[in-house]
Amino acid sequence: MKSVNAVVIGAGAGGGIVAKELATAGLSVVVFERGKWYTAHDCRKDDLRNQRTTVLGNAFGPDDDGNPRVLIDGKGNARQMLPSEGGYQNNAACVGGGTLSYGAQAWRYMPQDFRMRSTYGAPEGSSLEDWPISYDELEPFYEKAEYEIGISGDYSGTPFKGPRKRDLPMPPLPPNREFGILEPAAKRLGLHPFHLPMARNSVPYNGRGPCMRCRWCCGFACEVDAKNGSQNTVLPVALSTGNCELRTESMVTQILTDDRGRARGVSFIDSRGNQQEQLADIVVVSACAIESARLLLNSKSHLFPNGLGNRYDQVGRHLQGHHYTGATGYFDFETYDDVGPGASIAVTDYNHGTPGLHGGGMLANEFIRLPIHMIDRLPPGTPKWGLAHKQAMRQWHKRSIVIMGPTQQIPTATARVTVDPQVRDKWGIPVARIQGNVHPHTYDIGAVQAGRAEAWLKEAGAIHTVAMAGRPDSVSAGQHQAGTCRMGDDPRGSVVNKFCQVHDVDNLFVIDGSVHVTNGGFNPVLTIMAVAYHASDALVRNWKGTRFRS
C-alpha cells in the first residue's frame, strides 16, 4: 500500500479539520473511520433509536454487537457495557463523529477557562491545571471554525464572553416561544440573555439551506442538512482536493513505530476484515478522548512498553465530560410550540466569579422535547404508571421548560481510561476500561447552578420547579468526553504540547477533545475545532516538502 504524508484516525470534529487543512496544503492524507458514512437520508426521526435516546440502540454507532467497554463502578466492580447503555460513555462512530447528530451548540470557552488553576487554585484531590495555550492565541482559530463550519447566533446581549474580532457569520434563528418567555425573566433578574451559538444554518450558507425547525434535532442527522459538522463541511473540502482518501468501516488497531521511536504508520482492519498496514510520515489520532487513549495504550512496542506517549503514565488520565445540572419548570400556560431546535437562549453570567466556587457554567433552555423525554420528567408525586401518568403527560408535555447546562468539571487523575486485560472487541482489540469519579467540588458547583435554573424558571412564571443536581458515584465522559491526553509544557504531567504533538514522538499528534486540560462550562465542540485548526496551522508551517521535521 502506497505510503502517504499523513494518516488521520477518526473523521469527527478534530479529524475532519486536520484532514482538510493538510490536504489543502498539498499533503497526501488517508482518513480512517471505524463507522459508516451516513447522510441526511439516515435521519430516520426515530425517537427510540438515535444518538440521544438509545433504548433500541445507537443510530450512528457503535453497534451493540461486538463493541463492549468495561466500566468499574464506585464499589470497584467491573461490568461490561453495551454502547447503547449510559455507562458506556458513548459519543458516536461514523463519518462526522459526534458532529453528525449533535445538538450543535458551538461555544467559545471564556479566557478564564484556559487558566483555571491560576484563577481559582486547585481543589484538594483535583488535577486542575492551566492550558499551555491562551484564549487570545486560540481566538483567530475560533473565528476560523465559526466561518468554515458555519455558526449562527448573536453574542451581543452579553458582556460575559471573550473578546472577538468578528461577529458570527449567520444571524440567530427566529426565537421560539420559550425564548419569548425566558428572555424578559432573565432580564428582570439582572442577567444578560442572548441567542446561543449553534453550528446550524439560519440562512443559506455554504451551499446548503437553513434549518426548517423540525422536532427531530439533537441526537439525529439533520433531514435537510442544515446542521453543520465535519461530514458536510471540512471533509468534502478535503476530499475535493484530490489529496485525501476516506476509508470508512476501517478500524486502526495500532500505531506502528520504527527503531528510532518515530511513528511510521498504522495497522488497520479494512471493511472486509483484512489486516493491513498504511505507512505515513505523520500520524494524527483524532478518535475522541476514550478511543484515542485506548489506541495509544494499545500501541505497545519494546521502546514503548506502556503504550505511546505514556512514558509518565499520563495517557488516559483526567477523563472528564460534563456534569449536567439545571431544573424543570411547570407552567399553567403552554410553553411548547413544536419549533426546533428548541435550545435558543442562554446566559453566561454564571460561568465565573462566584465566591467559593471554582467556576460555574452556561445555562440554556433544553433542546426540543420529544414525548419519550417526558415520561420520567413529570412533576414529583406523579404516579409512574396508570391513568394518572397518562393524564400528567397530557397536562405537562406542552407546559414545561427545562433549563440546564454543562457544569465546569474539576478533573482528577484517577478518572481514567486503561485497556482491559481480558475483554476484546469484535476485531480482537483490547477494549477501553473506564474508572474513577467526578471530583466532588463539581457537584457543589452543579447544585448552585441548579438553584439558579430554578430561580430563572420561577421568574418566568413556573408554578413549580424541580432541580436536577445529583451526585452520581461515577465517571463523567459521554458525548463531551475530554482530557485523556492533556496538553502541557511539562512532559511528566501531560501527553502533548500546545501544538498537540506527543512529547516524545515528534511525528505523532493527538488532535481532538483528549487534549483539553479542562473542559469549560460549555459544550466543547467549537474548542475541539479551534484547537484542531491551531494544531494544523503549526503542522503545515513545519512541513518541509516531503518529510516532517519538528
Binding site: D46, G57, P371, L387
Partner: protein, 172 residues
C-alpha cells in the same frame, strides 16, 4: 387515515380477538406465545389504561414489545418468559382465572403486587410500554401516532419554517 373512533373500535376488536383465542391456530407473534401476549396485554393496559384515548395494547404496545424481543431486547426474553409465567400463576391462584380474563380491578391488584414483588421485571415492562406508546410508530407501537396526537402535536409533523408563526410570542 382512521379517525379516533375507528382506531378505538379496531383496537377493541383486536382485543376481543385476543381474548377469544382466535389466534391459537397460527400465532402471529414473533416471540410471545398467545397466552403470554394475553397476559402482557393486560399488564400493559394497567400501565397505560384506555380513557378517551387508546390503551397501550390498543396502540400496539404488545406488538412493539414482541418485535423488540427479536432484536434489541432479545436479551430480555428470559425475563419476560419467567415474569409473565409468574403473573399468570398469581392470577390463577388469587382469582382462579387468567389475568386477561380477570376484572379490571383484579388486574390492577396483580400489577401492584408485581411492582412490589418483582420490581425489576415490572420496571422493565413499564419502560417498554411507555417506549412503545410514546415512541416512533415505526416500531409497532404508537399506532397512527395516537400518543403524539393525544399530546397535541401535529401529525403529520410540520415541515418547513414558513409554517411557523414566529410573531405570536408567549401566551401571558
Amino acid at each position: 387515515m382512521l379517525n379516533r373512533r375507528e382506531v378505538l373500535l379496531a383496537g377493541a376488536a383486536a382485543s376481543a380477538a385476543l381474548v377469544s383465542g382466535c389466534h391459537s391456530r397460527g400465532s402471529h407473534w414473533l416471540v410471545l406465545t398467545d397466552a403470554e401476549a394475553h397476559t402482557l396485554s393486560a399488564l400493559c393496559d394497567q400501565i397505560i389504561p384506555a380513557d378517551e384515548w387508546p390503551s397501550a395494547s390498543e396502540a400496539g404496545v404488545v406488538t412493539f414489545i414482541d418485535r423488540q424481543l427479536t432484536g434489541p431486547y432479545r436479551r430480555h426474553r428470559k425475563t419476560y418468559r419467567h415474569g409473565l409465567e409468574d403473573i399468570g400463576n398469581m392470577a390463577l391462584s388469587r382469582f382462579g382465572v387468567e389475568l386477561a380474563r380477570a376484572s379490571c380491578a383484579q388486574q390492577l391488584q396483580i400489577a401492584q403486587a408485581i411492582e412490589q414483588q418483582n420490581p425489576a421485571f415490572f420496571e422493565l415492562v413499564r419502560r417498554h410500554t411507555l417506549q412503545g406508546y410514546y415512541g416512533s410508530p415505526r416500531h409497532g407501537g404508537n399506532k397512527d401516532a395516537v400518543s403524539w396526537r393525544m399530546l397535541g402535536l401535529a401529525e403529520p409533523p410540520l415541515r418547513g419554517r414558513a409554517q411557523y408563526d414566529f410573531t405570536a410570542g408567549p401566551k401571558a
